[in-house]
Symmetry: C2
Subunit: 361 residues, 2 copies
């Protein structure tokens, strides 16, 4: 039943599991800083726009919250706690039980997630395995959906990009930052298809009056992809791979055929996709700048940045190149992290995050 | 929030995870046969007693099923499928979406469970980590709870049994089969406490009119524990441990202080506990005899029996004795499995399973 709207089985790119040196659990401070930036905005959206009266006709024996693409924690626990507190702040003692659903691909490390659930939590917890590019919950059963730094992952690489004879074949690169338009267009088309499916599924699952908050990486209109931190980091990883290819450890074609299945949308594009879907009204939309806040963390310890990037990206590299090459890539990234930091410091760091609060009509 | 009714954190004794030689996934044919015996009874109970009209006042945007103590599959998937089909058989096209909750301790291998979910399932799936000796779900949110071969696990060993100076100290044994009355009484008291907590939690979670089916190992009234298959198998494992102790590989006190935290109830005792709880009416109660059906399986391949016992029990032995001794125990069990089969063949195999269908008043 899950994924029945998708044209093919969405691929999974889980963050690193467990709680070791390169785990997402220990290396997700950027995502945490991003969530902190969003906290005040979530509080305001709930205080001003959530209307619990709307739920009286639907099931209201529980207030159901879903975190979509939750990974392995601990960030997801902090997000959920924040949402719950904002809801309780507004409605006080008349609240029903909270039921919280932690969603990610079945390949996510749910064992680690479950083992690290806060023991003193004031909610009932469940894990939901499956891609959010498809249905995950019964009709009109959710009251609040949240997704932070997850919807930039595409459900799959666009087919043109994986075809050597296509004009969208991305020679010598692993991302579309400085590629021909055909490459960018293929990524953008895949994102629009994925987001249409995502919004359609959530429109069915959210009860009328329910809210959804999306926190996404974005690029301000008019800024080139090569100037924002994501573009710079992915290009940096691409140049390391090409360096390894030139040394003969992998073939250049292996690099050509590899692409990071991530897309950075713009505020205008998201607004247009929400409007086209038609089931949601935009309650709040705001660009924020978490890169300006995390600067001191990464500057003090460049290697920390390398580890964070590894925790999030290692999985997708490993599938294509295998463990040995992945170790090479991230060891070299670690050695050169000072150089990467320099590039990031002169990057465009304003407005790289979009906060989008939607209300189910 | 979970376990808030329990006096201490319940202990976890997960079945073997993964899908290897000794995994529960590959070694749970006894539990499957037991579930098959129960299938017809579940079908009848649903057809005759489930009243979906009762749910109109509660949330009915989904029909919510929970399997409590589900382990890692595949048995739980077959059980859930069966329940769904019986419900659909009765109500036809007016059914809302099914939402299925797979529950077990957080230490259960949920990653394996999620990876093996039937791809063509017609329900929305979620995993719920936590002990069923405590609350797991919001108030009045479930419509059908199911638990098969799980509630015989105690939430913990009774304290008296772990105290060397207590009359309930179980010298030279690992189960209460042939122990002094004080040992048996301590196990029985723990079970009654646990079952009271279990029933109280489920009474809160099930919507009025909701059903609960418990499939449990039982002992018929008037039959001695040493004559039923469970008692025989646990005594057999105990004698292997004492043999290892006599060879000096472990101390006898290590055996004395080890007890299998399992209790086999009687039909009368369960009926009394349900009545004392007061929130459920007994819809159907029947003793069945799955040991008579699995006879041909275990007779043909004695080693299969040894593997099945290992898949279910290895965890609790390993915690106390460590991996080396556990390997010794189960290797010796494997070598002697023919002897164990002989004992089982002359055991009392009638009425060792209780089917209990309850309805939330």
């Amino acid at each position: 039943m899950s994924n029945n709207n998708a044209t093919s089985v969405p691929e999974a790119y889980p963050m690193n599991g467990g709680d070791g040196t390169y785990s997402y659990t220990k290396n997700s401070s950027y995502q945490r800083a991003a969530a902190n930036v969003a906290k005040t905005l979530i509080d305001e959206a709930i205080a001003e726009k959530l209307d619990i009266e709307d739920f009286s006709s639907a099931s209201s024996n529980a207030f159901r919250i879903a975190d979509l693409g939750c990974s392995v924690g601990p960030n997801t626990f902090a997000c959920v706690q924040n949402i719950m507190e904002a809801v309780k702040q507004k409605y006080g003692s008349q609240m029903p039980d909270f039921h919280v659903f932690f969603n990610d691909h079945a390949a996510n490390d749910f064992n680690t997630l479950f083992a690290s659930l806060p023991p003193e939590r004031h909610y009932f917890a469940a894990g939901v395995p499956g891609s959010f590019h498809g249905r995950l919950f019964p009709e009109a059963s959710l009251h609040f959906a949240h997704s932070s730094y997850a919807t930039h992952w595409l459900s799959k690489l666009p087919e043109e990009v994986t075809n050597k004879n296509s004009p969208a074949w991305n020679k010598g690169k692993i991302y579309y930052t400085t590629s021909p338009d055909q490459v960018f267009n293929a990524f953008a088309a895949q994102f629009r298809t994925d987001m249409a499916i995502f919004l359609e599924a959530r429109a069915k699952e959210l009860a009328a009056g329910g809210m959804m908050v999306l926190i996404m990486q974005t690029i301000p209109d008019g800024i080139h992809q090569s100037r924002i931190p994501t573009g710079i980091m992915f290009d940096f990883l691409g140049s390391i791979l090409m360096e390894i290819a030139k040394e003969g450890l992998i073939s250049e074609e292996e690099v050509d055929s590899f692409n990071i299945p991530v897309y950075t949308t713009t505020p205008n594009e998201m607004a247009e996709l929400v409007e086209r879907n038609g089931s949601f009204s935009i309650v709040k939309m705001e660009s924020t700048s978490p890169w300006l806040k995390v600067g001191h963390i990464v500057n003090n310890t460049p290697q920390k940045l390398a580890r964070e990037l590894r925790a999030g990206m290692e999985g997708v590299f490993k599938t294509h190149f295998g463990s040995d090459i992945v170790n090479q890539v991230f060891d070299r990234l670690n050695d050169k992290s000072g150089q990467l930091i320099n590039q990031l410091e002169s990057s465009h760091r304003q407005g790289t995050q979009l906060f989008l609060a939607l209300k189910r009509k």
